[in-house]
């Protein structure tokens, strides 16, 4: 993989490292208990005890945002594990072998991908019910076709190159060709797509939670925080702002990274 010396990657890594380390610290320690209610301190302005103030229940906003980043990142990661895991297997097999199974799977993938994912996720959630795990499953399944397509595309492109034919002549089995010869050459494209997929997952999770279909109260998630904060936009603008800025930084970091990964020229 060629990583060009560029600003995209540099800033992308810095922003992502910052946000992710906040999320990781948040798993072990937050300034206050994110669900602790302090009814004498409702809508407190930022202070030393509550660095970003408190919400309508007197809960520490900073702690809730930190917890929310963690929750959103976790949903996104598990979504990617499902979507990318299954997509990689399907894409590898269909891309290498082709045939009518390939045709059938890709056509049905086309139909799924033609729809805005938020609409499909809504339908999915309306059937399975709300909650964090249902969102992970819904988004994971919805992400499979796009990942499978990208992986397949790379396999189709690389399997016709000379070195793959040489490997075949030397007697390498299909599994070895797939994993040792083709897959490593597909990594730049896959990494880039993984970064984009992560952003889509974050965005989808935030949207679902914003609509009240994802993480359920009192737990925190970035989308949830935005919808919770909206009624108090006028009295406590920093509430919405801190949750929103967290989402923007998370997405910005990964989109810069995906820009920074320079793809090898396709022939």
């Amino acid at each position: 993989m060629i990583i060009k010396k560029n600003h995209y990657l540099f800033f992308g890594f810095i922003i992502t490292a910052l946000v992710l380390s906040i999320a990781i610290i948040g798993f072990f320690w937050t300034p206050n208990n994110p669900n602790a209610i302090d009814s004498s301190n409702r809508f407190a302005s930022p202070s030393t005890k509550y660095p970003l103030g408190t919400d309508n229940f007197g809960r520490c906003i900073l702690s809730r945002v930190v917890e929310g980043i963690g929750a959103t990142v976790l949903v996104a990661v598990f979504t990617l594990i499902i979507g990318f895991g299954v997509g990689l297997i399907i894409g590898t097999l269909t891309g290498y072998y082709g045939g009518w199974v390939d045709e059938l799977l890709m056509r049905s993938g086309d139909v799924v991908m033609a729809f805005p994912s938020i609409l499909l996720a809504l339908v999915f959630i309306s059937i399975t019910g709300t909650g964090r795990y249902n969102v992970i499953i819904a988004l994971g399944v919805l992400f499979i076709p796009s990942f499978a397509r990208v992986v397949r595309g790379e396999f189709v492109r690389i399997r016709e190159l000379d070195f793959v034919h040489s490997a075949k002549i030397m007697g390498a089995g299909p599994l070895r060709i797939m994993l040792v010869h083709i897959l490593p050459n597909a990594i730049p494209v896959l990494l880039r797509f993984l970064a984009i997929g992560f952003n889509n997952a974050v965005l989808a999770e935030a949207s679902m939670s914003y609509l009240g279909l994802g993480v359920q109260p009192p737990d925190s998630s970035l989308g949830r925080l935005l919808s919770d904060s909206q009624p108090f936009l006028f009295t406590a603008p920093w509430y919405a702002l801190s949750a929103g800025v967290a989402i923007v930084l998370l997405i910005l970091g990964f989109s810069l990274i995906s820009e920074g990964i320079v793809l090898p020229r396709s022939e």
């Binding site: 938020i118 914003y210 919808s227 006028f234 919405a240 923007v248």
Partner: protein, 326 residues
């Protein structure tokens, strides 16, 4: 050749629509939870439940119900809402108008913002990539690209919240939540939709601008561009007449995708700005288990998306004859 192609496309189109409606029907038929118990309450009498089931047609086997549903759907009878007890068609009529107006307005904004800015940014990016211009110009282009990247990363509902705060609560250009239905006052109806449409349009425009710039820079190194310059074409002339013709194709594909994303994105924006459109009704019906309404909205949105994709293909072929062959 062309006829065969058109037939194929229309065939795929019809099959896709059929698959969507079948899936929508099956999905909402196998959901656990009985609408009849919901409508009548837990302690309704046995006869009343049986009566209600046959009234709604729920006592028939699934394939009979499906063909009956499909038949009436095609003729414009979408069934009756479980929770409002009025025909879905009546329930939807003004909501479709609201959501369609919002989406179209957002799309027009995307075009109005991204086309001029994208062209401007592309024109100066071409020059600066040739290394001939001042460091000041490069700095401006870098700043514009960075700003663009940041705007791209803002989710539409957060744009909506920022816009509500700045234009609604501080500058008081509009009152958040004070939606006026079209039948009440068309002018006020469209005025209220401006800011929601803008919230959808801003991040999308940034994406389109980026795409235009990338696409133009990709083409700018081609031989035909050099030829055009050497024949004495000016910067703007070559950009608009030669480069854009090629560079626009990915942009148009993306715009078609954008339009369908906007339709879906309006589900969320309607929630942010408290607009009683299709999205709000969809969410409400999902939590009420009002399947006829959910089915209808899903199939309508899905059909719109499929039609838009078809349209984008046709437009691209019109612009680029090379695509027609495949």
């Amino acid at each position: 050749m062309t006829l065969k192609y058109i037939l194929k496309r229309v065939g795929v189109f019809v099959v896709t629509l059929f698959v969507i409606s079948t899936l929508a029907f099956i999905a909402f038929s196998i959901i656990p939870g009985d609408p009849v118990t919901r409508m009548l309450g837990m302690n309704a009498s046995e006869e009343r439940i049986v009566e209600m089931r046959s009234e709604l047609g729920l006592d028939k086997p699934i394939h009979t119900r499906f063909f009956k549903w499909l038949q009436s759907f095609v003729t414009g009878d979408f069934g009756k809402s479980y929770s409002y007890s009025i025909p879905v068609r009546e329930l939807l009529s003004d909501k479709v108008l609201t959501t369609a107006s919002l989406s179209l307005m957002a799309f027009v904004f995307v075009l109005a913002i991204s086309m001029p800015l994208g062209l401007l940014l592309s024109r100066y990016s071409i020059i600066s990539s040739k290394g001939a211009k001042s460091s000041f110009q490069r700095a401006i282009i870098s700043a514009a690209t960075a700003l663009n990247q940041i705007i791209m990363s803002i989710p539409p509902f957060f744009t909506g919240i920022i816009i509500t705060y700045v234009f609604g609560l501080i500058l008081r250009f509009f009152t958040p939540g004070a939606f006026v239905p079209y039948s009440g006052n068309p002018a006020a109806f469209y005025a209220y939709l401006i800011f929601p449409a803008l919230s959808i349009a801003l991040p999308r425009s940034a994406m389109v601008i980026k795409l235009i710039r990338g696409s133009v820079l990709n083409e700018a190194g081609s031989d035909y561009v050099r030829t055009a310059y050497s024949r004495g074409g000016g910067q703007w002339y070559v950009l608009l007449v030669h480069i854009m013709r090629n560079a626009l194709i990915p942009v148009i594909n993306f715009l078609a995708m954008t339009l369908s994303d906007i339709v879906a994105g309006s589900i969320i924006i309607e929630q942010v700005f408290a607009i009683p459109g299709m999205g709000r009704l969809l969410l409400l019906s999902i939590s009420n288990r009002d399947y006829p309404v959910v089915q209808t909205i899903v199939v309508i949105i899905a059909s719109v998306v499929v039609i838009l994709n078809l349209l984008a293909d046709v437009i691209c072929q019109y612009i680029d004859p090379r695509i027609r062959i495949t």
